[in-house]
């Protein structure tokens, strides 16, 4: 503490110790054509990736081009609703705006047939049992609530299948 001397009027009042400095950024997000196609698929409970004609990789959500080959991803690929947890994170810290109780698990799910992971929640399994290689399937919102938003997939839950071998997803970790 410093030798700071407060004016007399401030000596007997509760000092200010902290301030709120909120930052709020209001954007309008435009998805682009490829991601719009993907989101329209989500609204009909379909997961649509797009394949690169050069390397054959399937991107989901698609961004319209292959980052490796720089060409449009012209072929649409409907993907199954099952995949493998490649990486995950147990969230233990409560924060503002959080929709669910801690601890919970966020994971990257590599859909079968896809070459890039989708981000989502893993539930219906204790947080400390989530693991790399866990086989999961999508749990969707009710059909009436489907929208052009990835939140139409509520979360991913274990399928009960044996874990995927590391070699099957090592390229995607």
């Amino acid at each position: 503490m410093t030798g700071l001397v407060l004016p007399e009027r401030l000596r007997d009042v509760e000092p200010v110790r902290r301030i709120r400095t909120p930052a709020r950024l209001e954007y309008n997000f435009t998805a682009g054509q490829a991601t719009s196609r993907f989101l329209r698929g989500i609204a009909t409970k379909r997961i649509l990736g797009e394949r690169c004609p050069e390397c054959g990789k399937v991107y989901v959500p698609p961004r319209g081009s292959c980052p490796t080959d720089g060409v449009p991803t012209s072929e649409q690929v409907e993907l199954p609703h099952t995949g493998t947890v490649t990486t995950f994170c147990v969230v233990n810290v409560q924060f503002y705006g959080q929709a669910i109780e801690v601890p919970y698990v966020c994971a990257t799910v590599l859909l079968d047939g896809a070459d890039i992971g989708l981000f989502g929640l893993v539930q219906e399994i204790p947080f400390d049992q989530v693991r790399m290689g866990l086989r999961v399937e999508a749990v969707w919102v009710d059909d009436a609530e489907l929208t052009t938003n990835l939140s139409s997939i509520r979360y991913w839950r274990p399928t009960g299948e044996p874990d995927a071998a590391y070699e099957t997803y090592r390229e995607h970790v």
Partner: protein, 147 residues
């Protein structure tokens, strides 16, 4: 394969930060809440407002708070014709560096001048306090141009 319509939606990023202020800013903000403005004296005798914790020349810790007046002089300014949400005023106003009487540096704040014609370097301004004060820079609602 172009589609009829590209999807678009509002996206709001919000970070509700809070931070501790340290002893000098604490004194400054407590002062604002109680309706007084404090500066701090540097080793070479200048008074800085807002107050800083360390001397800008020597780096020494500073501790001599100085009570300033509610009036001051516009050192420089810029007109804001279209205020954005959460700016100090919802009508056109001036951003100004106000050198409060007794201070040697400028405090950035809004001047409710009504028109840029009433703003000038050297204009005399006075604090308009907020109706409810909580220990924040917004406890000064804005400055008014003195007649």
């Amino acid at each position: 394969m172009p589609d009829a319509e590209v999807l678009s939606a509002p996206l709001v990023l919000e970070y509700p930060f809070r931070r501790t202020v340290g002893p000098v800013q604490s004194a400054f903000l407590t002062g604002l809440r109680e309706g007084i403005v404090l500066g701090i004296r540097t080793r070479d005798g200048r008074v800085m407002c807002p107050p800083v914790e360390y001397d800008p020349v020597t780096g020494d810790e500073l501790d001599e708070l100085v009570e300033l007046g509610e009036t001051g002089t516009v050192a420089t300014w810029s007109w804001e014709p279209e205020p954005r949400p959460n700016q100090p005023l919802d009508r056109p106003f001036a951003w100004a560096l106000v050198r409060l009487d007794g201070a040697d540096t400028g405090l950035l704040h809004a001047v409710d001048a009504g028109s840029p014609d009433r703003m000038s370097t050297g204009a005399r301004v006075r604090i308009r306090w907020a109706a409810e004060r909580e220990g924040a820079i917004t406890d000064i609602a804005c400055f008014e141009v003195e007649q």
